[in-house]
Assembly symmetry: C2
Amino acid sequence: MGGDSDKLSGEDRLIAHYFGPVAAHPGALGLSDDAAFIAAPPDCDLVLKTDAVVAGIHFFPDDAARTVAAKALRVNLSDLAAKGATPLGFLLSLALPSGVGDAWLSDFAEGLRGDAVLFNCPLFGGDTVRTTGPVVISVAMFGSVPRGAMVRRAGAAAGDLVFVTGSIGDAALGLALRQGADWGLDPAQRQHLMSRYLLPQPRNALADAVRRYASAAMDVSDGLAGDLAKLCRVSQVSADIDVSRVPLSAAAQAAIAADPAMRETALTGGDDFEILCTVPPAKAGDFRAAARAAGVAVTEIGTIGAGEGARFLHEGKALAFRRAAFSHF
Amino acid sequence: MGGDSDKLSGEDRLIAHYFGPVAAHPGALGLSDDAAFIAAPPDCDLVLKTDAVVAGIHFFPDDAARTVAAKALRVNLSDLAAKGATPLGFLLSLALPSGVGDAWLSDFAEGLRGDAVLFNCPLFGGDTVRTTGPVVISVAMFGSVPRGAMVRRAGAAAGDLVFVTGSIGDAALGLALRQGADWGLDPAQRQHLMSRYLLPQPRNALADAVRRYASAAMDVSDGLAGDLAKLCRVSQVSADIDVSRVPLSAAAQAAIAADPAMRETALTGGDDFEILCTVPPAKAGDFRAAARAAGVAVTEIGTIGAGEGARFLHEGKALAFRRAAFSHF
């Protein structure tokens, strides 16, 4: 329970060397203090989120450390985007087995640094601890919205239109590929699906539009079907989704053509990290225009109604899923 | 990599059932949303900290879950206290092996709830993930100080007086007892030392006084000697400590009387979670009065000088420690 140290403990050395460059904000004090500070933005609410990823559960132990770092950040960035929030920064807690060496840490820190710059979201502090188990990476992220403006899961109303960003199901199909599925895809299609599992593409560019026009929103992390059901439940509404309108990449379409059971995988699988939101019809035109300006594809896939439950209508029939939601737990 | 679920995923059920009562702030939305919000306090800086604890490293796997929860919170609360900050809330990331059942979680949540109330520091969100390794508990805590007022490690000046709160070394000696040391202590003495390891007593009651009167401060988590050396290094000063003035509990004095080598353990061992701070002589009277009013014992143990290095003077000689600082890493 401890280790020898000279002037700097092992942890201090690690932090200063690898993570100092990720802590670009002056309030991070070069990670040399017990805590960091940042001016609280005036007339704003802070938006707070934590998500962890574990080797062997959320990523493969042999994934490149820099993409693991990016994934750990991006699953949190995706939540902030869906809430209409602007990232301010993050805290990092890293539990490392003794086999993790300098090469892994260096690559991990480089992945963090790249995304901290890309998403304007610096590191404000961290803790590294030893574990006898797998790597556990916990990110706590904080952002801001104008006072009272965080977009919630509750808020969808009958008549609202249902939108999703990007394409659905790629990551779940990419995971299936890594686990051995073979649908005769061409290399580019395989690459597309696997990269979507490996590295989420959070839609932070759409955060402003979501905040201005959406009545409810969440990020799709546990599968479109299950996440829409959650949104409907807290909004106390129902949803009818036209499965033919759910945006699928060409690669996902090819996988489903080869194995129709993959449609359910696409609709219920996890790790999409797209935004699911509801928009009142009167605001839909402005929402589409804002999304276009932000460079984020959005697709209308259905409507909100009274009652309860999320129905996925395919060729005139409601799909019955074997499982309603993906759970990493 | 996933599990079946019905209406609520396993994680959702866990969170709602056990952790909902800890999330007393309305902005936590009953943990039913992707993120939480809180009004950014006006004219303040946010103070940000994360620390993790791991079973088998920072606590014994058979420690009561409620004290583990309290320890995970308190190691972070202690940092906020030393920075002069008032806690606002925390995020929790919990990696759990499959052997952890409802009884452990229920007791853990009860420990969290107790301290969330005691320290006025509610839960704002969490993530529970599976791990094949030991329990890893990461807390990210945020607090506030008036703009620009966070007390740093840097800031100590020649002539300042060095203070510590409470007593030093109890936790390190308590850990040694749990690991089999036997100094012929009476049961109450053993109990005192072991409880100080088991459950830190962070000095948040002193935060205001630290902010008003201290030129530099940090919490003592890696041993007084090593932590003072860190403070001196970033402040670019030296310190001379009179070992006879370092506050020791009666139990610690008994342990040292039985084995004089335990003096070094007390001065360099970890987990004190006391506040170490420097105070200009002109403010020392006010600091003592404020500490008395807050009900926190403070002891003057030495002075800051020019130059560098922290010296511990015992019976006319400077102690040479076998190791300068404790490291959990």
